[in-house]
Symmetry: C2
């Protein structure tokens, strides 16, 4: 009766983020971090009423949340305008003003790892006095006594598990994204959880089922991560549970049900399983989303997940008495899931016949404008998955199709595949992208005058590299805090990244020639397509200097370049108004070059 | 274990407003206007999940909400940055972008009044072509045909009731706040609902129980408003239901239960009753708040209220199967109701022995700073009631006690009392205030060096007047968009207010002497106390010129004056950041003069 126009593009920006949540032991209070009110703040729900209330107004990103077992306090980590220097604050159980608890200089990091069963001792990592490798401390809330337990050496350490009686703990030594070693520390003595450290593998998610047994996730001797156990008494390592071609990424334990719950990563989706220790039975559980970002198992056995799918923005769900219930109602303003686009999963062959999986989001025929956006994901040891991106659905609604390849180095396809980007940022992955673009041309999906390349972080680096070396394949580039100069990047990453940079990217001296070849800035003279560069002023990972360099150089060469700097952001957009500004700027830029 | 400091003052600002709500016929969707995300926007709840989602991002105040009976659309009224020129928009049932439906120039007003049972015809008032008295139109959504039904003449008209078969409707002619006449219009013929128009009385809330019977609220022949009926067939007027010393303010009808639900006003609190037509039985219903701002009765008989108490911020509640359930969870950040102050109800005698009721909020002894804020309310035909004000609870937390008298002219104490301010803005009410101040001194609650006067709108006018004529009684003044010059004010009020200004305030020519005597600007030379003036740049009721005048004059006289102009606000604060700025400025000003 009243004609309503098609949804407006800005409606897609009206989703919000939910980055982390926690639930009180009695499951009456759920606290989460979200930018519902425009900036990142804490909100809480007191069940059964699901209407959230403001729990803390901080306007800062939150790294973790933890409710004391006896509901005496809540712990949270906040940074400063996206600088990722998280520090630890305490809040009253009723909410209010965060009080600094474990903090230092603005540049120091404090990461909460565990607390004792009685909630009186907090274990945390800090970059203070050891910015490269981190130190492990224990802080006693009753006596305010702080003890240094472990100094990181050679590679960053991170405590990830604590014995119920605090008689031992597990630390993980991260040598690279694909190489981390787990140690159980008993009375100061460090014992490797896996048989040997010589083989490159990873260890994560240590969980104590009792004082003497640690379960954990590793890909020791395998392409995919599985559940293994370590017996502290006899030093025995045992593989416990593997799921073929799937990598375990989250492992949780419920002592009352004697059951593990774990999430696996399989290409572009996640799966949830339970594993009963007594029956040794694995059960696949239905989940309401394709991607699971956080999994919390309550004592009661209720399952809480933070998850999303390509057409479902991030939400908290819970499984209570066999039924999944959506707790939060985050959705695109006035737009239902079926008005959005589910991606197709495509496989194409690269230069060396290697199979590359990609997501192809095809704009609905009544909206399609004939143009395609090629999106190399960030990471690079990450993947583009069936996960809601306001940007994607917004661009699709404007008529752009989107193609996102999981080039070599992406996670979810086995350890060997993931390692292929290590020491090779600019050759193999780039050629995978080039072959993805050629596939688009062969399929008549796109052509050089109908293609844009848009990418952020490593994806921004790849966009820049493609712009410099394959300008003839597409029309224009959008670089969102991408690395332009690998030498500058090596110097500017956070201190605790440096130990793993050599394996990951290379050494400024030894690998000089390759780094030069793989630095976008080397190809300035052939970077002739119009470009939009977006940068967060406080970005600790890709510092502003990176983007300044490329913009200055292109301007000098007379290339059409636009530069948008966000003064109060880091590596990502935590503030709604900045997010909208970025997307509007990007769309305007693209429209200009149709 | 972790010591937490007392709540911070800014926590009190972290409540939000809920100004209006509507519920779909099936009670599955509740839509409300709130500044949860910083500015005034529409939010919705799809029961049973009470987690709200953004329904429309408009950043504007909303005057009404109406869901179509068949869930085909939602209607809403929005103004522009507080200018109160509301116009009518339509939205999809799923939410989205409001589409202009009945709009005009930016200065035109469009008020939704009723829609036909089938939702296809909309009745609305507009200031377009009749800014002083308004016109009534009917708009057909199917044919887009618009019909002028009634032209306002002599006094503003407002349609308030529509016969189920649209064979007649009721319009109310507003001559003053205390004088309004109701007419049923049958085939163009206007019949008075009350026996005569000669006696000053009010008519409101007309409700048709069938084509021929109109129930309504009037104080015809009485001090307090009651329920009456009018029979269209025989013209009979009948008083139906009176509650001694209480004024009916809202009347709702449930045809399926053959029952009325009504809210009465009794001094500083409201009451809720049901009245069954068949049994003629009146039942008092428990309500979760002292003040009821909106009452909606669903077809099922479920009761929805928007209400608040002194220590409960505005919230939506519903009575389902005998139990009140709080739908929204608006509360002061980290502060429970018992940490706030419930006012005492005080009665003192004024200059002429008239009894004046006042609310006395006594700062908790561990927080009290010995100072008292004297708060004359706005209106003036309104009242200070047991209603949450973030400002009050915040000031109380900072240590200030607050005294708020319902001086003559206030509502809730009978029609005669309310009329006492008409044609006497500056004498009787002022002396009531002076005697209230003296009562504070007699009770040793305060003294001239421990007292501040703070007021907004008419309360700002009173603050200015007290500053000019009784500067010796207190220390400093805060004027929030108060009238300073009654002549300027007479000229600057909205066109449709002008017809009633003569009775309410006076005539610029006939009452020249009195208006001069009662204008704060007359007493500039004795206005010697420090003053803070706060003004919204778009205020349509007290235009900025009013405040400019007083500030300029005081500056000229060398009085300490601070001036805060809010560029994007009208008569009130719709935006959280402005609200916080105002309160912070006020507190700083007060602290400075302790």
């Amino acid at each position: 009766m009243i004609p309503f126009p098609k949804p407006d593009v800005d409606q897609f920006f009206r989703t919000y983020s939910i980055t982390t949540f926690t639930i009180s032991k009695d499951e009456k209070k759920l606290i989460f971090s979200s930018n519902i009110n425009g900036k990142q703040n804490l909100w809480a729900i007191d069940f059964p009423n699901q209407f959230p209330y403001l729990f803390a107004q901080v306007d800062q990103q939150c790294s973790f949340l933890k409710v004391d077992h006896d509901n005496r306090y809540v712990l949270a980590g906040f940074d400063h305008d996206g600088d990722e220097n998280y520090q630890i604050y305490a809040l009253p159980f009723e909410g209010g003003k965060p009080q600094p608890l474990l903090v230092g200089e603005k540049t120091d990091k404090f990461f909460f790892t565990n607390s004792s069963k009685d909630g009186e001792r907090i274990y945390y990592m800090t970059s203070k006095e050891n910015p490269q490798f981190l130190n492990l401390h224990r802080y006693d809330l009753k006596t305010n006594k702080d003890v240094l337990l472990e100094k990181g050496e050679g590679a960053p350490i991170y405590m990830e598990g604590l014995a119920p009686d605090e008689s031992s703990y597990v630390i993980v030594n991260t040598l690279a994204n694909t190489y981390s070693l787990g140690y159980v520390v008993v009375n100061g003595e460090k014992r490797l959880l896996t048989p040997t450290k010589d083989e490159v593998h990873t260890v994560s998610n240590p969980v104590y089922t009792d004082e003497n047994t640690v379960y954990f996730v590793t890909n020791y001797g395998d392409e995919f991560s599985y559940i293994a156990s370590y017996n502290i008494l006899n030093g025995e390592f045992l593989p416990v549970q593997k799921i073929p071609s799937e990598s375990v990424k989250i492992l949780k334990w419920n002592q009352f049900l004697n059951t593990f719950y774990f999430v696996t990563e399989k290409g572009v989706t996640d799966q949830l399983y339970s594993y009963s220790i007594s029956s040794r039975e694995v059960t696949k559980l239905e989940v309401p989303t394709d991607i699971i970002e956080q999994l919390t198992i309550a004592e009661s056995g209720s399952i809480y997940v933070l998850g999303r799918s390509a057409t479902i923005p991030v939400n908290i769900f819970r499984l209570v008495e066999g039924t999944w219930e959506q707790v939060t109602t985050n959705h695109v303003l006035g737009i239902t899931s079926d008005q959005m686009v589910e991606p197709e999963v495509i496989i194409y062959k690269s230069f060396d016949e290697m199979e590359i999986e990609a997501l192809y989001f095809k704009a609905k025929s009544d909206l399609a404008n004939g143009y395609t956006i090629f999106w190399p994901h960030g990471g690079p040891q990450a993947a583009e998955r069936k996960s809601f991106r306001a940007m994607f659905q917004c661009f699709l609604n404007r008529g752009y199709s989107i193609f996102a390849p999981n080039f070599r180095g992406s996670t979810g396809y086995g350890a060997s595949f993931e390692k292929l980007v290590e020491g090779d940022w600019g050759e193999g992955p780039r050629l995978d992208c080039v072959h993805g673009i050629q596939w688009l041309f062969e399929q008549n999906i796109s052509s050089p005058d109908k293609l844009f390349v848009v990418g952020g972080s490593y994806g921004g680096y790849m966009a820049l590299l493609l712009a410099g070396r394959h300008a003839d394949l597409f029309k224009a580039t959008v670089d969102i805090f991408g690395v332009s100069n690998l030498f500058t990047f090596l110097n500017s990453v956070p201190e605790h990244w440096k130990p793993m940079m050599k394996r990951w990217l290379g050494d400024a001296v030894e690998d000089r020639e390759r780094l030069e070849k793989d630095s976008p800035i080397t190809y300035l003279d052939t970077m002739v397509n119009p470009m939009l560069v977006i940068q967060g002023a406080n970005d600790p990972r890709v510092v502003k200097d990176e983007s300044d360099q490329i913009v200055a150089a292109l301007e000098k060469n007379g290339v059409e370049v636009e530069y948008l700097v966000l003064d109060d952001e880091g590596h990502g957009f935590s503030k709604k108004h900045n997010e909208i500004k970025v997307y509007e700027t990007m769309l305007e830029f693209l429209e200009k070059h149709l």
